[in-house]
Subunit: 152 residues, 2 copies
C-alpha cells in the first residue's frame, strides 16, 4: 500500500500532532493564567475540551514518533477507525469551543470594559485563536485518515 502523507504513522502526521499539542496547550495556558474563567460557561467549556484534546494529541504524538523513528507500525483498519472517530469528535468540539470563546470575548470588548480589562480580554482572544489553530490541524489529521480509510 502506498504511504499517504499526513495519515497515521508518517512524519507529516507527526508534525500535525506536534502542532496540535503545542496549540492546545497554549490555548489552555492563556485561559488558565488567572482563575476568572469559572464565571462563564464558554470559558469552562474551552478548558474542558482542551483537557480532552491535550492527552489525545500527546498519545498520538508518541505513537507516531515511535512509528517514524523506532519501528514502523502496521496500519490496521480498526486502529484507523478509532483514531478517525476521536479526531472527528475532538475537532468538532474544539471548533465549537474556539467559536464560543471568541464570541464571548468579543462581547466583552464591545461592552467596553463590562467585566474585563482589555489585557484580560486580549488573553481570552489569544486563547481562542490558539484553539482555532488546534482545530485546523486536528481537522487536517482527520481528513487525511478519512482519505486513507476506504483503501484499507
Amino acid at each position: 500500500m502506498d504511504e499517504l502523507p499526513g495519515a497515521f504513522g508518517t512524519s507529516a502526521s507527526l508534525a500535525l500532532r506536534l502542532g496540535q499539542t503545542v496549540f492546545s496547550s497554549a490555548s489552555l495556558f492563556f485561559m488558565c493564567l488567572d482563575v476568572e474563567f469559572y464565571s462563564y460557561t464558554a470559558f469552562c467549556y474551552l478548558v474542558t475540551v482542551m483537557g480532552l484534546v491535550i492527552p489525545w494529541s500527546v498519545t498520538l504524538l508518541a505513537v507516531d514518533a515511535y512509528s517514524v523513528f523506532v519501528k514502523w507500525l502496521p496500519i490496521q483498519r480498526r486502529l484507523i477507525l478509532i483514531i478517525l472517530s476521536g479526531d472527528m469528535v475532538l475537532s468538532y468540539l474544539s471548533l465549537a469551543a474556539a467559536c464560543s470563546t471568541a464570541s464571548v470575548a468579543d462581547i466583552f470588548l464591545d461592552a467596553g470594559g463590562y467585566d474585563c480589562p482589555p489585557k484580560l480580554c486580549g488573553r481570552y482572544q489569544l486563547s481562542a485563536a490558539m484553539a482555532f489553530l488546534s482545530w485546523f490541524l486536528s481537522s487536517a489529521s482527520c481528513l487525511f485518515n478519512l482519505w486513507l480509510f476506504p483503501s484499507l
Copy 2:
C-alpha cells in the same frame, strides 16, 4: 457502481437536503423576527452564514429531486468534488455560527436581563438550536459524499 445511501442523487440525500433547508430557514427566521441582531457580531455572522447555506441547500435539493424523481443523473468526479468542498466549508461555518450565537445568548441570560428580555433570548437560543441541527445534517451529507469520493 453501488449506490451509497446518503450520497449525491439518492433519496436519503434528498431527505438530508430537505432537512438542511428547513432548519437553516427556521434559524434565519427566528433570528430576523426583529431587527435587534445588528448590534452583535455573532448574530450578524449567523445571518450571513444562513444566507449562504439556504441557497446552497435549495439548489442541491432541486438537483437531488430531479435525479430521484425525473431522470437519474450520472455521478461525475468533478461534480462530487465541488459538492463536497461546498458542504464541508458550509458545515464548518454553520457550526461556528451556531456556537457563537448560543454562547452569546447564554451570556445575556446569565447577565440577567442585561440587554435582552427573556422572550428575545429564548428566540436567539432557538435560532442557535436550529443552526446546530442544520450543521448536523450538512456534516452528514459531507461525510457520505466523502465516503463515496475515493471510489470514483
